[in-house]
Structures are given as structure tokens and as C-alpha cells.
């Protein structure tokens, strides 16, 4: 009977198991079910900086597109071939999934259980929104029409693509709203912001400078709006020195949180890139004081670059390697800086948006860049005094003068150096230095991710049909490209 008893106990155990609540077992003990808004904000900010600092040809091949770098052995992107590593897919994911989504979730979470006052909360939300606007700027300026009104919303697994110009106009509205909302008499978050530490005055300058940057993109296509936005930005107050630069502080004590350039060039042990002949030869020709700040000399003490598009191999004894400071794990991620702002102002003078001296802004921009990299004011003065460099005597139109110098200054602003060519037409790589084995001309945009083609085909097809020429190709001009 005892055995029968034990069997019936087992029986009842099984039966009772069938009525109990099992749902608590389905909570992952190794993940958090709650998001901490400040920690999500920092993740979004870091991912944004990573996306734009990255050297990866699988997500940010801009350094090789602009011919500041080229590939050593596996030459695809330097020949404008993205099939192998799908950069258009990964750049998009880096911005939407890794940057925007964390920022957006932070924005939704800030108001919940907020400890500070309403003003601080508004400041936190505006700072977060500025980074979102900044991110959408890159999306629109890289792809054209992108999901916007239905983006970042789980109601729309397959969002429609909004018109790029319409998005752009809304981005200006959002920046204005942030400018109106940021209250510089009070603070915001603290060290979780690794750019300004929550300094609202700096964020306000950032907002104005971002507006300036955005205006420059549409300066050819819609000069009226661009001019108005430049004037408004000046009134709010743009960056006035390198002290205002939007620099993200990486953590050299943690490889995964170190500067992505160090991770790719030093930590990985790989040698995938070299500087190009066109960049080095241009800088050598103008006795640029940034040469030793950007590169290391070869064994013979000279500066030598690789041939874009060719398989160059890695040999630091005969070709210049990158400088130690570029490869430092603590190098900050540069999102927007004073030099860039001064170049835009020089351009604004030439375009008649503002009054003033284009040459002064041009000198300021170059001086700021040289000082940023560790050169001195006198280095800059010597450099600028050369006829080939001096604004009055340098070769070509203002677009050529500014274009070349902006391109050199944007050495570590890889997307910007590609975009200055797209905006101003200089350096005119297609003419002066087309890569060996190039697949067509310099890409003017990214194609949409192949993942969009497979997962969101209807909306992709509608967007592709609207592209100039009706095809989703890199040679199609975006709305602002004239």
C-alpha cells in the first residue's frame, strides 16, 4: 500500500503542476525589464559617436570614398563596390537601431519617475531630441527619403518612407523647438552626457551650430530658407572657439568603450588601411603643419601615400602610417566643431547669407583645425601665408578653395569629408584622381539597405520610384544635390 501511496502522491504532484501559474518562469533573470533613461541616453550618444567615428568599411566607408584613406588588400569600397560588406545596411542600422532607438526610449522614459524639476526635464528632453535631429540629418543626407513619421514606432513594423525635403523642414522645426525650450539658467543631466556633461549653454550653441550645418546642406537647392536659417543660427549663437566643440569622451580603460579607430587599427592587429597619395601629396605640396599630426613619416622621413583603389599592401617603411594621436584609445569622437562652423560661415559670406569676410572665417577655420590637432597659431599663420593656401590667392572658385581646405580639415570627420565633395564638388576626385578599378563615379548617396528591400519591399519600392531616375542607385542625386 505504501507504494500505492507514493505513486498517488506523485500523481497529485503532476496534477497540481497543471494548475499553477508558470508565467513568472518566463522572465529573464539576466536581463533588465526596465530601462534607465540616463543609461539609455548615454548608449544612444555613444552609438551615434561610434557610427560616425568608425573606420569600418562595412558601415562607414566614407574615409575611403573621400580618398583620405584607401584599402590595403581587399579593395572593394575604395572602388565604390559595396556588395561585399553592405555598408548601406549597417550605417542605417547603426543610426536607427543603435543610436536613435536608445535615444528615443530614453526620451520616453525620462518623464517617468523624474526626480528633478520640470525645467531640468525639459532640458534633458531637448538635449536628447537634438541628438535625434542630428541623427536624422545624416539619414536624410545619406539616403534621401527615409522612414520618419512612422519610424521608431512598434505600431508600424513596415513604416512608409517620408519625403526627404519634408523631413528636413520638420528637423528645422524641432531644432527651433529645442532652442526655445533649452533653459540655460538651469542644468540638465550630468556625467551621463559624455559630450557636454549636461551643460545647457553648450547644448544651445550646439543647436545653433547644427542649424547652420543643416542650412549649408540645402544652400544650393533652397538658398532662401538656408539664408534665413543661417541668420537665425547666428542670432542664437554658434560655436565661438574649440572649447565649444561637441566631442564625445571615450573610455581608454575599456577596449569596447575606446575610440573605434583604436579598436580597428590597434586592438584588432589588422592593417587594412593606408593614407592616399592625393591627400598626402596635397598636404606636402602646401607644407601643411598637420602632416606629422595626421601621419607618421616613412623610414626615409618622407610622407608617402597609397594609390586609391589599388591593392597597396601594408609597409610602414615605405608608406606613411597613421599618427599616434589618431590611433589613441582616448581620442574623442568629434560630432561638430568650431573649425567646421567657421568654414560654413566663410561659405555663408560667399553665398550672401551673411556679411563679413570669407577670408577671415576661412583663416579661423584652418587655424582652429591646426590647433585642434596640436599645431600652434604660428604654424597656422605660416601655412596661411602661402599663396597656394591664402584665401585671396588660392586656386579656383570659392567652392574649390573652401572645398579642398575643408576636406583636409575633415581628416577625421569621415562622412563630412565625403559630403563636402558632394556639396561643393571639390576635391573633384572623379577628374583628378579616380580610383584604380572604380565602379563608376563617386557615389552621391547610399542605396537603401538590402534588408529594407526584403523586409519592407512595398515602401522601399515606392521610395525607390521617387529617386531621380527611378532607380535605387548610388549615382542618383539627392534633393539637395544640384
Amino acid at each position: 500500500m505504501k507504494k500505492l501511496l507514493s505513486i498517488s502522491i506523485l500523481f497529485s504532484l503532476v496534477l497540481s503542476a497543471c494548475t499553477k501559474d508558470l508565467s513568472t518562469l518566463n522572465i529573464d533573470p539576466k536581463s533588465s525589464s526596465e530601462g534607465l533613461p540616463s543609461a539609455l541616453f548615454l548608449q544612444g550618444e555613444k552609438n551615434l559617436s561610434d557610427a560616425l567615428t568608425s573606420t569600418s568599411v562595412a558601415s562607414a566607408p566614407f574615409r575611403v570614398l573621400s580618398q583620405e584613406w584607401t584599402e590595403n588588400t581587399y579593395v572593394y569600397e575604395a572602388q565604390y563596390n559595396f556588395a561585399a560588406y553592405q555598408a548601406p545596411d549597417n550605417f542605417w542600422i547603426n543610426l536607427y537601431v543603435n543610436a536613435l532607438h536608445n535615444l528615443d526610449v530614453a526620451k520616453q522614459s525620462f518623464p517617468i519617475d523624474f526626480k528633478g524639476d520640470a525645467v531640468t526635464l525639459r532640458n534633458d528632453l531637448d538635449i536628447t531630441d537634438l541628438l535625434e535631429v542630428y541623427t536624422f540629418y545624416y539619414l536624410v543626407a545619406t539616403y534621401g527619403d527615409v522612414p520618419y513619421s512612422q519610424a521608431l514606432n512598434t505600431k508600424y513594423p513596415f513604416p512608409i518612407y517620408d519625403d526627404a525635403k519634408t523631413i528636413y523642414s520638420d528637423l528645422f522645426t524641432r531644432v527651433d523647438s529645442c532652442i526655445a525650450g533649452l533653459n540655460t539658467t538651469e542644468g540638465a543631466m550630468g556625467s551621463e552626457d559624455q559630450i557636454y556633461g549636461g551643460n545647457t549653454t553648450e547644448w544651445l550653441k550646439f543647436a545653433a551650430s547644427l542649424k547652420l550645418k543643416m542650412a549649408m546642406l540645402i544652400a544650393d537647392e533652397d538658398p532662401t530658407t538656408a539664408g534665413q536659417e543661417v541668420t537665425a543660427a547666428m542670432q542664437t549663437g554658434v560655436f565661438t572657439s574649440d572649447a565649444d566643440d561637441a566631442l564625445f569622451s571615450y573610455d581608454p580603460g575599456s577596449p569596447g568603450n575606446s575610440n573605434p579607430i583604436w579598436q580597428a587599427l590597434v586592438l584588432s592587429g589588422r592593417h587594412d588601411f593606408g593614407p592616399t597619395n592625393i591627400l598626402i601629396n596635397t598636404m606636402v605640396g602646401w607644407n601643411d603643419p598637420r602632416l606629422p599630426l595626421y601621419f607618421q613619416p616613412t623610414a626615409t622621413g618622407s610622407y608617402v601615400g597609397d594609390v586609391p583603389g589599388a591593392g597597396n599592401g601594408y609597409d610602414p617603411s615605405s608608406v606613411s602610417d597613421f599618427s599616434a594621436q589618431l590611433q589613441a584609445p582616448a581620442l574623442q569622437g568629434d560630432l561638430l566643431d568650431y573649425s567646421e562652423v567657421q568654414f560654413y560661415l566663410a561659405e555663408s559670406v560667399e553665398r550672401g547669407f551673411i556679411t563679413g569676410s570669407a577670408a577671415t572665417y576661412y583663416d579661423n577655420a584652418i587655424t582652429a583645425s591646426i590647433e585642434f590637432w596640436g599645431g600652434s597659431a604660428s604654424d597656422a599663420a605660416t601655412y596661411l601665408a602661402q599663396p597656394a593656401v591664402a584665401y585671396a590667392t588660392a586656386t579656383g572658385t570659392w567652392q574649390q578653395k573652401i572645398g579642398y581646405q575643408e576636406w583636409i580639415s575633415f581628416y577625421n570627420r569621415n562622412w563630412e569629408s565625403w559630403t563636402v565633395i558632394r556639396r561643393l564638388g571639390y576635391p573633384d576626385l572623379d577628374v583628378v584622381n579616380p580610383p584604380v578599378g572604380a565602379h563608376g563615379n563617386l557615389p552621391l548617396r547610399f542605396t537603401y539597405p538590402t534588408k529594407e528591400v526584403t523586409t519592407n519591399p512595398t515602401n522601399w519600392a515606392a521610395a525607390a520610384a521617387k529617386i531621380a531616375g527611378g532607380k535605387d542607385v548610388v549615382s542618383a542625386k539627392l534633393f539637395w544635390e544640384q
Partner: protein, 1089 residues
């Protein structure tokens, strides 16, 4: 585990005790040929009392008078014999060449005769799978079961996929469930860092298997619940038997292999290492009159400091200079300080030892096994110990396995019996093979994709062992001037393969315990209650390392994994004859299944401080927090079933199961599976035809199966990452989970026909099945503009329908000689019916070179997508320059992984004590994309990348010299292409091979069909008369066999079309670094004492 050990010990003790019984009977069971039959179950009808015959076919049993004994055994017709008061009984059993009345083990271990089986189930004996030595017994099922597709890996200890009746789930496992003596075995494979740690079925001891029963359809497996929705492979192990003393079987096996050359690359030997005319662009340029395909640098202390011609060693490609032995050049060895050629030039020619076989070693496996079986009146026991020592064909690779199996049964009273088993497997492995593309660390990706023939493997071996440094063939250009003894540069991409094998090897160990304990209580002669527990527990420890001096950042990682699954079961069985013609069986049962998988992974960060010191603390930067995983789940099930049999001719069967799973939201976590089945043995109605129609049966069934979700798909999660400058960082996970998930649904119907003719000399079983899996739970890819990569949804439905055919033919049968043939043939048609949100396709896997494996609505599971050509009347179109024009769609459908049909043909010839058998295994259709051929073509290593054109000139010679390559195709107006393209200098874009340079990825899609001589074996049993003279031996069997002996036919060049990427849904259809097939020759000797 504890409860099993306690119960087990109690059993062993109680087995020693014996108690008296009223009536005893002894006897001997023989087969139709008069030979003794060991292992036949002898059971007293209507009671629990049972035993099994010993190796002489003898049994002894105590039983009430006037009992009936039932004799059953795999391969023989069941027979009932009235004992009366006899004390001795000799019985002869008829063999079932067509397995008609054979007893088949079905769900929950319930045995059924063929007559009452209303669904497809195929059974084979242990002997069918343990004739050849393999480290995963599941490999040996290939070609033997209709409807079962086995894909195994050629890597040492690699995973084996077992899929029944096609792919049903788009994202979840499609693997059949293995149940060994009632213990479910999780067959999921563990992979990490590109290494396949094998599937858990490799822990099954082949020597311990009595029979394998395959339940193919949902109706057959419905009682097991959703985990069995992909079919069940039931393994029954050997039992002890009741006899005086103990029986001992010892066996020893050895196997050794040689590579099948047709699965290894063949290289072009016209051009060596380099990347075109780099000499013109690098360093000081090419001196006048010199070959620009070499580099020219001064090497300190060499040639008076003047420049010398150097091979472009940093380029892992064979697109360099044409070989010319009259040119003396500085090859990679010239910069390897311990090489005899250090700082010396050598003739520019292919190396003597450049083939992978110069690297491989002979793989040898030895197996020793001892099986002890015995018992007394009151119970039985068995003990099996098997040891495997496997040495792989990659240097420094090995797996050692120790397997212990204990099992015992005990009749405590007439009504109460218990049985328990405990198995322990200990496995230690070293240097398992990497299957993934890991950039210069996987020897097969090196050999198939980046291998210039000027690299000598013997030299690499000598240089490694002489210097114990990473003396590589792939020096950076900068190493030419600086390499010196004790100070060499790091490789550009590829480590010396010997360095990798001896410095960077992985190591792992696993301890696995499985067991069960069960009590059976016979309440009345028609009512039986059983209850028990099962447990499967393992601990695994994995270490991976990359020493200082390797190309990649050095690291040490360790991972501890533990897995536990326990099941609590009860089952009440009713079995009664009502009147003479009607038998009623019914059952009610319950099952609580809990599993938990935990792991912790820790790694050094940013490199190692000290070489060869394997600890996480040996880290350049502060190590990041370990990665932890803790997944747990519970499923509670209740089930019931009833079977009515009329005259053993018509059987009606119905089951229902209710499951409640923890992985679904509370509101939707309970679901039901009904099944109904019927069969009709129509030959019983036609006794007049029995001269030619020996047997005939039809069956139909219908079943619905529910399915739960993988872990943690209901609530959204956030991950906490390593702090940055002291600040917390956290990201939202990239899958949007779903609090409204509902269970998956599968509806299957099946119809079958079984017939045999001419005294069972000819027979077949054929069935048709149709299943639709809907509401599939999957993380669907969404637009990443949502901020997520995937949403967890119910969406997607997949249909499988197919035909399975098994035929047996005995063309010759005489007293001394017989010839049996078995044919298995399966055709499965898979179709994706719909996907979430009206999506046209779902990406199952995104692979290198932008290859996708997708499910596409209206097509079969596993469409391969990539770039394609444009075609005119089926011919590739070229432009005016003779180059192919590619289709503008980079995601064209270029292939499908699904085979059209698979089949096996087994022939077995028996002459006296000799048996010769061989198995031919066939796959027809299905395609595979070879990244090996694509990348290898980009680096110009294959014969297709060199050779001569119609002018008799090398295709890589400049056009001006009559060189050039004619791309086969037509111009836009349909005329054959006649324009040669320039292949002379890859650096200047004059090169068209591979998808990187102008070919479409569809160029590298190959038909995956094959015909293989999978197995052949010759076995011989020493004559009984000879054996009996020894007085202690009872039998000696010898077997000589071979596995993977001959790929009779295939289309894929240089590789085995079966070779995949580890295990899982995306493991087929894509080859990367494919390991070669080894012909394994085995010798086994087995002795019974």
C-alpha cells in the same frame, strides 16, 4: 539526479535477494535456421513477469501454472505458447523479413504489433547502426529510414542534423526529438567562436542500443506534446536478462581514415602569390626590365643592400607572377629566420608540399567496450562501459570519451516492479575544427580560399617547430627588412597553421548524467499504473585561446555551461479483451518537464600580458563582466488515449493532450493536441489470396499539435553594458517582444498502405502525409527603421507534403544463402504558404558575400538569394567588351537547399556465417552556394582561374600577347560571345573571376545531389562448434567495414555536397571552409563469454 542514484542503489541491493515461486520453466528459443536467439523477451501473458533469453537462447522463468508465454523480439514474429504444467519448452520463432508481426516500440515506450499500428513508424535494430565506428550514432541512420534526412559534419566531433519530413518551422528547431529509454535528449548543438561542439546525441553509446524506432508523423508522437512535433526517434537500450551467472560481451574496434581526394581542392600551378603589378606602386617601384608582379626592396645585409625581387607575401591570393623556375626570388621562407632559405632566394615555382593532405594527419579511432548482462528470477541488470579515443586529421586534435551505462529491473512483488538506469558520459576534446569564416584561423578556409601554391607546408611545419614562433607565409611587407631570429613581425592575415594548431587550440570537457527510475504497479490484470522520473544533466567547460604572436588580438576565454532537464511522469494503462473479438486499450497520463540552461562566459580584454598563461586575469585591460545566460522553462502536460481493436483487423485510436507552457503569455499558455487514427488489415478479409498476398494493411490518421515559444519572447528586455567613464550604459534589446503570442498550430493527416507478397519475399510500405504548420512563432525581420531588428510575432505558415516508401525484396533465399534488399525513398515538398504582415519573404540567414537563405511565399523553405546574370534563351548575356551583364536585382533567387528526393538502397548477402552488406545513399536535387569557390576564384587559386585560351595562350596573358578569357555567353543579339576579356592584372581591374570582380554569386551555386557508397561491411561469426570447444567463449563476431567509401557521383567540385555549417536550420546550402570527407575503415571484433 540524487533520487535516481538512491533508487538505483536500492535496486542493486534488492536484486541480490531472491524469493521462491510456484512453478518454473526452462527452455531455448531458436530461429528458423535452428540457431539460438539471444535477447528474446519472454513474458507471462497478462502479468509483469518477464525475462530475456541469454546468448545461448536459453531462458528460465517461474510462473503460475496454465500460463501462456509470449515471445517477442525485433525481427521475429511474435508467438504465444501455452505452458500448461511443462517445465521445459523449446520454441522456434519465424523471422519477419518484412517485419509484419514485429513488435514496434511506440510513444511512451508502448509496444504494438504491426496489425494495430495506425501510423508510420519504422524500426531498425541496434546491429544496423553499430556495425561501423562513428562517434555519433545518428550518422549511421543516414539512408536507413524513409523520411529522415541526416546531415552530418566532416569535422571531428561535429554536429548531426536529423530532420523528419522536412522543415516545418522557419526559426525554431526542426530536429527530431530523441528519447532514450524514456529520457528525452536535447539534440541542439552548441557552437561558439565558429566551433561546433557537436550535438548531444553523440553521447549515445552505439553498443548499448537494442533498437531504434522512428515515429515520423504527428499522430504517432502526439502523446509527447509539442516538443515531438518534428517527430521522435525512440532508442531502446539493451536490457539485462535472466540467466544463471552473467553474460559478458567484449568488443574492440579500430578505425582509420584516408581523405577522399574528390573532396579536396585542386590548385592551378601557373601563377603564384601576389596581387597584380603591385611592384609598380609600392616602395621604389619596379626597376627597369624587372617583373612588376614582384616587389623590390632592399634587405639589410642582402645583395649588398640593393633591391631584390620579393614575393608579395602580404597578399593571400594567387593573382601574382607566373611561375618561372629560372627566376630566383625571395619567397616567404626568405624572411623566416629559422628557415634554411632565410635571406636566400629560391626558384619561383610551386612548392613540393602545397596540398592540404600535406598538413593532415591520419585519423584513428579506437573503441573498447564491455557489456555485462545478467540477473536472477527477480530482476535483471546490465552494465556497459565503452571508451572511444579519436584522433582527428587536423594536427593536435582529439576527443576521448568514456561511457558508463547501468540498468536494472526488479520485481518486488508479483504486482510491483521497478526499473532504473544511470548513464554517465565523460568527454574531453582538444582542437575541435573551426567551421566558420574566422579570417585566417580556419585551415580549410585558408586551403580553399586563400592558398597560393608557392607555400610549402613542410617548411611551415619545420619553421614552426624549429622556432616555436608564428613563422608565417603571410608576412606584412614591413617584415622583409626587420625580421630576425627572436623578433619576427605579425602575419598580415594568416597564422602559420601549425602555430594555430599548437598554440591557439580550444579545449573542452563535458560530464553528462542521464537516468531514469520507474515503478510499475499492476493493479489488476488489465490495469497498470506506472510513475517515474527522468533526468538529463550535463556540465560543459570550454576554453579558447589565442596566444601572443598570433595575427588576431590574443585572448583567453572560458565558458561554463550547465543544462538540466527533468521529467516527472505518470501513466495509467488499461488493456482488456471484451468478448472474443474486441480489445480495448486506454491510457491517462501526465508529464511535468522542466529544463534549465545556464552559462557564464568570461574573456580577457584587449590582449594578453604574458604568453601561454591561460587565465582571465592575464588581461591587458580590465576584463569585462562575464556574460551570463539563464534560461528556464516548464511544460505541464496531461494526456489520455484509447485504442479499440476488432479481431486484430481494424484498429481505431484516439489521443488528446493538454500542455501548459511557461514560455507563452498566461492568457494563451494552454493548448490541446487531438489525434485520431484508424487502420484496416484487409488481407485478413482475403484468406483465399494468401498464396500471393501475404499481408495488406491501410491506415489513415489526423493530428493537431500545438507549440510553445522559445525562451523570453513575451516581455521586452534591456541589457546593461560595461560602464563608460564610470557611467552606466544600457541598451534596449533589438527584438520587440510580444505579450499577445498564441501557440503554434500544426495539422497533419497521413494515409498509408503496407503490403507484402509471395510469402513475404516482396513487400512495401508507402505513405503520404500532409502537414500545415501555422501561427508560427518567429522573430520576424522588420524594417530596422522601427529601431528593432525583429518583432516576436505569430506569423507564417509552412506546408509539407510528401511520400515515403520502404520496400523489402528477398531475391534469393536458400538454406545457406540469402540476399535481402531494402529501399527507402522519400520525396518531401515544402511550401511556404504565408508570412507575417503579408511579407513576401523571410530571411532565415544572412551570409557572407550578401548571400541570403530565405523563406519565400509560394516556394520551398530555403531559397538561396544572391546576384545573378542576365540571360537570353538561357545563355548568359555579355556586353560589347565581352563582360557579363549582371541582373540589377542583387537578391535574385539563385538556388534552393531542398532536395527533390532522398533515398537509400541496402543490400545484404548472407552465406553461412558470412554477411556482406552495403548501403548506397542518394540525394537528388538541392543546391549549395560555395563561398570557397567564390573567394578561391577571387584569389585565383583554382584551375578555372588559369589555363589556356583558344589561342593556346594563358588566359592571364595580356590581350596584346594573345591572352584573355572568353566568358561563355551570348551578346544582346543572341550571337555567341567572341570578345576575350583581359585577366592580366587584377590590380588594374583586369580580372573577372568571382562575385567580387564581375561574376554573379549564382556562378557558385552547385547541384548538391550525390550518390554515395555510405557503408559496406563484411561480418563473420565463428562457427558455434569451434566456439563450444573453448568452453568459456560463446561466440565471436568479426566485422570489417567502411564508411563514406566512395562518392559515386556529385556535381560540387572539390568538396562533399553534404558538408554544412555546424547544425541548425541555416546549416545547409552554404559552404565555407568545407572539411573533406574521410574514408573510414573499421575493424570490430566482438566476443561473448
Amino acid at each position: 539526479m540524487k533520487r535516481i542514484i538512491v533508487l538505483f542503489s536500492a535496486l542493486m541491493l534488492s536484486g541480490i535477494l531472491a524469493s521462491a515461486q510456484d512453478h518454473s520453466v526452462k527452455g531455448r528459443v531458436t530461429g528458423p535456421d535452428g540457431n539460438s536467439l539471444p535477447g528474446i523477451t519472454v513474458q507471462v501473458k497478462g502479468s509483469n513477469t518477464a525475462t530475456a533469453t541469454d546468448s545461448k537462447g536459453q531462458f528460465e522463468l517461474t510462473l503460475p501454472s496454465n500460463s501462456t508465454l509470449v515471445f517477442t523480439g525485433v525481427g521475429f514474429v511474435e508467438r504465444s505458447v501455452k505452458v500448461g504444467t511443462n517445465s521445459s519448452l523449446d520454441v522456434t520463432l519465424a523471422s519477419t523479413t518484412t517485419r509484419l508481426n514485429e513488435v514496434v516500440v511506440t510513444a511512451l515506450g508502448i509496444q504494438r504489433t504491426r496489425n494495430s499500428l495506425p501510423y508510420a513508424a519504422q524500426q531498425i535494430s541496434g546491429d544496423d547502426v553499430n556495425k561501423t565506428v562513428t562517434t555519433n550514432v545518428v550518422d549511421n541512420l543516414s539512408g536507413k529510414i524513409a523520411g529522415l534526412q541526416i546531415t552530418s559534419s566532416n569535422a571531428m566531433g561535429g554536429s548531426t542534423n536529423a530532420v523528419l519530413r522536412g522543415f516545418k518551422s522557419l526559426t525554431q528547431s526542426n530536429q527530431a526529438l530523441f528519447i532514450i529509454d524514456g529520457v528525452p535528449y536535447n539534440n541542439s548543438s552548441i557552437t561558439g567562436n565558429g566551433i561546433d561542439f557537436g550535438s548531444a546525441t553523440s553521447d549515445i553509446n552505439p553498443d548499448d542500443i537494442a533498437s531504434i524506432s522512428v515515429l515520423k508523423g504527428a499522430a504517432a508522437s502526439a502523446l509527447y506534446g509539442s516538443r515531438a512535433s518534428n517527430g521522435v526517434i525512440l532508442i531502446t537500450t539493451k536490457k539485462g536478462y535472466n540467466r544463471k551467472g552473467v553474460g559478458v560481451t567484449a568488443s574492440f574496434g579500430v578505425s582509420a581514415g584516408s581523405p577522399d581526394k574528390s573532396t579536396l581542392p585542386v590548385y592551378q600551378t601557373q601563377y603564384g602569390e601576389g596581387y597584380g603589378s603591385l611592384g609598380n606602386y609600392s616602395g621604389g617601384g619596379t626597376p627597369t626590365g624587372q617583373n612588376p608582379f614582384f616587389l623590390y626592396f632592399p634587405i639589410p645585409g642582402v645583395n649588398g643592400g640593393n633591391v631584390v625581387p620579393i614575393v608579395q607575401t602580404a597578399f593571400d591570393a594567387a593573382t601574382g607572377p607566373a611561375y618561372d623556375p629560372s627566376e630566383m626570388v625571395y619567397n616567404w621562407e626568405s624572411f623566416s629566420p629559422t628557415d634554411p632559405n632565410f635571406h636566400k632566394p629560391s626558384p619561383w615555382e610551386p612548392a613540393a608540399n602545397h596540398n592540404p593532405t600535406d598538413y593532415f594527419v591520419t585519423p584513428v579511432t579506437t573503441t573498447e567496450s564491455v557489456l555485462v548482462q545478467g540477473g536472477g528470477d527477480q530482476g535483471t541488470f546490465k552494465f556497459n562501459y565503452t571508451r572511444d579515443d579519436e584522433k582527428g586529421y587536423i594536427p593536435n586534435s582529439s576527443i576521448t570519451k568514456n561511457m558508463f551505462d547501468f540498468g536494472a529491473t526488479r520485481n518486488i512483488t508479483k504486482r510491483l516492479s521497478v526499473d532504473a538506469a544511470l548513464n554517465y558520459v565523460n568527454e574531453n576534446a582538444k582542437n575541435r575544427y573551426i567551421y566558420q569564416y574566422t579570417g585566417g584561423t580556419n585551415p580549410m578556409t585558408d586551403f580553399r580560399q586563400w592558398w597560393p601554391t608557392n607555400v610549402d607546408l613542410k617548411a611551415l611545419k619545420n619553421d614552426y617547430f624549429n622556432s616555436l614562433t608564428n613563422a608565417t607565409w603571410n608576412w606584412q611587407t614591413g617584415a622583409y627588412g626587420s625580421n630576425a631570429l627572436g623578433n619576427i613581425g605579425l602575419p598580415a592575415y594568416h597564422d602559420n597553421p601549425y602555430w594555430f594548431a599548437y598554440q591557439n587550440y580550444e579545449a573542452d570537457s563535458r560530464d553528462r548524467y542521464t537516468g531514469h527510475a520507474k515503478a510499475n504497479y499492476k493493479i489488476t490484470d488489465y490495469l497498470n499504473l506506472s510513475a517515474g522520473v527522468t533526468d538529463d544533466y550535463y556540465n560543459q567547460f570550454i576554453e579558447q585561446r589565442n596566444n601572443i604572436g598570433s595575427q588576431a588580438t590574443p585572448y583567453y576565454t572560458r565558458q561554463n555551461i550547465s543544462f538540466n532537464e527533468s521529467n516527472l511522469n505518470f501513466l495509467l494503462n488499461f488493456n482488456k479483451n471484451i468478448g472474443n473479438n474486441l480489445n480495448v486499450k486506454a491510457l491517462v497520463g501526465g508529464n511535468v518537464a522542466k529544463d534549465q540552461y545556464t552559462s557564464i562566459f568570461a574573456s580577457t580584454n584587449g590582449g594578453l600580458l604574458v604568453p601561454s598563461y591561460w587565465s582571465v586575469s592575464n588581461s591587458v585591460s580590465t576584463p569585462e563582466a562575464p556574460t551570463e545566460v539563464d534560461e528556464h522553462k516548464e511544460v505541464d502536460g496531461l494526456f489520455a488515449g484509447a485504442t479499440l481493436s476488432f479481431k486484430d483487423m481494424v484498429t481505431l485510436d484516439g489521443t488528446i493532450r493538454r500542455d501548459k507552457s511557461s514560455t507563452l503569455p498566461s492568457a494563451n499558455n494552454t493548448y490541446y493536441y487531438p489525434s485520431v487514427s484508424a487502420n484496416f488489415v484487409f488481407s485478413k478479409m482475403l484468406p483465399s489470396l494468401q498464396n500471393w498476398l501475404s499481408y495488406g494493411k491501410v491506415w489513415v490518421n489526423y493530428a493537431e499539435v500545438g507549440g510553445d515559444a522559445p525562451y523570453y519572447l513575451v516581455y521586452n528586455n534591456y541589457s546593461i553594458n560595461t560602464p563608460l567613464n564610470g557611467q552606466a550604459i544600457m541598451n534596449i534589446n533589438t527584438t520587440n517582444n510580444n505579450q499577445n503570442l498564441v501557440p503554434e498550430e500544426n495539422k497533419t493527416y497521413e494515409a498509408g498502405l503496407e503490403m507484402s507478397f509471395l510469402n513475404n519475399r516482396l513487400g512495401f510500405t508507402a505513405d503520404y502525409y500532409h502537414s500545415v504548420q501555422s501561427e508560427e512563432i518567429l522573430p520576424i525581420n522588420v524594417s530596422t527603421a522601427t529601431g528593432f531588428n525583429k518583432f516576436s510575432v505569430n506569423g507564417g505558415s509552412v506546408q509539407n507534403q510528401g511520400v515515403e516508401l520502404t520496400a523489402n525484396i528477398t531475391p534469393i533465399k536458400t538454406n545457406n544463402f540469402s540476399w535481402n534488399m531494402t529501399v527507402n525513398w522519400t520525396k518531401n515538398e515544402n511550401k511556404v504558404l504565408s508570412l507575417y504582415g503579408g511579407q513576401p519573404s523571410y530571411e532565415i540567414a544572412g551570409l557572407q558575400n550578401s548571400i541570403q537563405i530565405v523563406a519565400e511565399v509560394g516556394k520551398s523553405y530555403g531559397i538561396i538569394r544572391g546576384t545573378d546574370y542576365t540571360y537570353l534563351n538561357g545563355q548568359k548575356v555579355v556586353d560589347a567588351t565581352g563582360h557579363y551583364i549582371l541582373s540589377s536585382n542583387p537578391l535574385s533567387d539563385i538556388g534552393s537547399v531542398a532536395p527533390k528526393w532522398i533515398g537509400g538502397l541496402n543490400n545484404s548477402f548472407t552465406y553461412k556465417n558470412f554477411t556482406l552488406s552495403f548501403l548506397i545513399d542518394v540525394q537528388h536535387g538541392g543546391q549549395v552556394y560555395s563561398l570557397d569557390m567564390d573567394y578561391g576564384s577571387s584569389s585565383g587559386i583554382y584551375p578555372r582561374n588559369a589555363g589556356f585560351n583558344k589561342n593556346g595562350k594563358s588566359i592571364r596573358a595580356p590581350l596584346s600577347d594573345g591572352g584573355g578569357y572568353l566568358q561563355p555567353g551570348v551578346t544582346a543579339d543572341g550571337k555567341p560571345n567572341s570578345v576575350l576579356v583581359d585577366e592580366s592584372d587584377i590590380l588594374l581591374g583586369n580580372y573577372t573571376f568571382s562575385s567580387a570582380y564581375g561574376e554573379a554569386t549564382s556562378q557558385f551555386i552547385y547541384n548538391a545531389s550525390y550518390v554515395k557508397l555510405r557503408e559496406a561491411s563484411l561480418s563473420y561469426s565463428l562457427p558455434k562448434k569451434l566456439i563450444e570447444k573453448t568452453h568459456f567463449l560463446q561466440g565471436i563476431d568479426l566485422a570489417l567495414s567502411g564508411r563514406n567509401l566512395w562518392i559515386i557521383h556529385k556535381f560540387l567540385p572539390y568538396a562533399d555536397p553534404e558538408q554544412g555549417q555546424a547544425a541548425g536550420n541555416a546549416s545547409i546550402g552554404f559552404q565555407n571552409g568545407a572539411y573533406p570527407t574521410y574514408r573510414m575503415m573499421n575493424f570490430i571484433i566482438k566476443a561473448n563469454f
